[in-house]
């Protein structure tokens, strides 16, 4: 294989591995920008993956699977909202609780319903989101340099992949160019001021966590019925936390979120590719280094050694009206 083929190969898996991160990190963006920390991204993603796989299997429809994934994830968001907005509970504890609950219930129900050790049955191609060939991809394939890039990296992905890249500018537009977005960001910085202006802090925050739920629904669905063809136990495998890391890394801004996710996806793709291969001069690099790199980078960033990541001011603090 020559070097260009390797590059194309790694790039296309980078895209594949980044998509769930992009959706999930954008979900975290909406929630945290409104001042609600969301450690439960991991759980919502996993719950959505399970719901999507079950419904897609039963109905033979990928789109109904997506709807189910979103509904499940939004329901979990509402639980998080009820605990942390209405009851002013600890947001982090609530998120941790959701992660545990989902990690358990998906396997328990999966085993009880399908009896395959917690996974769902293999899905038929009709009930999955299958790759889309963009116009001209086959003709372009033979063109040197751009050909493989267009037909193997840009074309040949499923609809959710394109939606993820669409969600980035859309999120930016909602957060920075609409009244809802302005208020949402304000409620994460200074809920008192928003309240004084006569706008309901709770309702705004509920809408923000619901946006997060919808986006996590997409990422879970992607995992279960676009990337794979079934729900596998614990298939989110810490991606929710990586997305959280990407969010910090991107300093809570939509477009940098996309690049951070692509970077972490690239590290993941590189780790897969490097398995068992020698690097000139260095020798075999342990896979574990690539696996730990996103986390290490995030800690270094958080420590302020590469720029300062300032979280939304009111993040993690339940809002109490003056008495």
């Amino acid at each position: 294989m020559d070097y260009y083929d390797i590059l194309i190969n790694v790039l296309s898996s980078t895209i594949r591995l980044s998509i769930p991160l992009i959706f999930t990190a954008l979900a975290g963006l909406f929630s945290e920008r409104a001042g609600v920390f969301d450690i439960g991204l991991e759980g919502k993603m996993l719950g959505a993956a399970f719901a999507a796989a079950c419904v897609a299997y039963i109905t033979d429809s990928a789109w109904l699977g997506l709807v189910a994934g979103i509904l499940c994830s939004v329901a979990l968001s509402l639980v998080h909202g009820f605990a942390s907005i209405t009851n002013r509970g600890n947001q982090i504890i609530s998120g941790v609780a959701i992660n545990f609950f989902i990690a358990g219930i998906t396997i328990v129900l999966g085993q009880a319903w399908f009896g395959q050790g917690g996974r769902t049955p293999q899905l038929s191609p009709a009930s999955r989101f299958s790759p889309i060939t963009l116009p001209g991809a086959d003709v372009m394939r033979e063109v040197p340099v751009i050909g493989p890039l267009y037909s193997n990296v840009i074309s040949g992905n499923n609809i959710l992949t394109y939606l993820a890249f669409l969600a980035v500018p859309l999120s930016w537009w909602i957060l920075y160019r609409t009244r809802f977005g302005l208020r949402l960001r304000a409620v994460g910085e200074n809920p008192g001021a928003v309240d004084t202006a006569g706008i309901s802090v709770s309702w705004l925050r509920y809408r923000a966590v619901m946006c997060a739920g919808i986006l996590c629904g997409f990422s879970g669905t992607y995992l279960a019925i676009a990337q794979s063809a079934a729900f596998i136990k614990d298939m989110s495998a810490g991606k929710g936390y990586i997305a959280l890391a990407a969010l910090v890394f991107a300093k809570w801004k939509p477009v940098p979120v996309m690049f951070a996710c692509l970077l972490f996806g690239f590290l993941d793709a590189l780790a897969n590719f490097m398995q068992g291969k020698q690097v000139p001069l260095i020798g075999a690099v342990p896979v574990q280094i690539f696996q730990a790199l996103p986390y290490i980078l995030t800690c270094i960033l958080l420590a302020g050694f590469i720029g300062v990541a300032t979280p939304p001011k009111a993040g993690g603090v339940p809002y109490t009206k003056e008495r």
Binding site: I39, N90, I93, V96, F100, A292, C299, P311
Partner: protein
Amino acid sequence: MSTASVSLPNWITYGLIPVLNLIVAFLISGVVVWLIGESPLGALSLLIEGALGSGEGIGFTLYYATSFIFTGLSVAVAIHAGLFNIGSEGQAYLGGLGCALVALALDRFVPWYVTMPVAVVGAGLFGAAWASIPAFLQAKRGSHIVITTIMFNYIGAALMVYLLVHVLIVPGKMAPETRTFLEGGQLPKLGWVMNLFGAKLGAAPFNVSFMIALVAAYFVWLLIWRTKLGFEMRTLGVSPTAASYAGIPYARTVMIAMLLSGALAGMMALNPVMGSSARLQVEFVGGAGFVGIAVSLMGRNHPVGIIFSAILFGILYQGGDWISFEMPNITREMILVIQGLVILFAGALEYMFRPALVRVYQQFKTT
């Protein structure tokens, strides 16, 4: 009037509320069991039979409880200083490294009672060292301890897998684990304690580290409620501003609280590594660090409460195994469901029942 500021007697705060949380968590789990098509009461009786019905069952229950006491204390010490340490899992994992290195070095030369204190120190030091970086980042660089401790769980896991696969592995073996410790590196079982009650321990790995856990709980109580440092930690936990006005150094207190928290998490490793499997294995912590969160919340962050809730979670773990054996439809992961619900109701929704209880209590007092 706000109900959050009304003080309730201790038996309500430390007794009734946790029990209510637990009952709600159990009720919802019961609904899940019922939805699966099994009998909730049948599952409950299996749970109790499996965990408490035999000497061996009790031995396993207490073995699990030992780990949970350590991690529960670890979470609680940090919470008292206002820090939410989600990193107990990783700290316990690294603690295992410290403990295993001591056991590997000493087991040939000295008996277990010489190895044990050194191993306690080794495990504690490694756990504390792993907590020290997030602690430093929180104290000096203002990064969020929750995020950094989560990151450090993953970094720790990657580091340990690397060490076990490439460094500590027995040459020529496939399994990523250290060699088995000799007798000098193994903690004796507490069969004689069970014999006192006329029960047989059987194959259960209930061992001396249970005693260390109880001692640790006593020291935590002493530290938090009977020392100046503990007072400073609690002040910081209630109000960082008040603490800084009172001249309590923020960075120092945060560091000490997190180091202690990490050390306690690290000591948990004694139980599985030296007490049960006699070698260091991948993923030996098995989620005990996370269970510590539930244990601490359920036990209201008090050592006595933690011992009780650790035993409760021990019952859930051992009984859960038994249920999954007898009712194959209900898998082990049911424990995670209950754990999640306990964390939700005891931690995040702690104020849900309180207003109602306050109203009932006040009515009761005035009549």
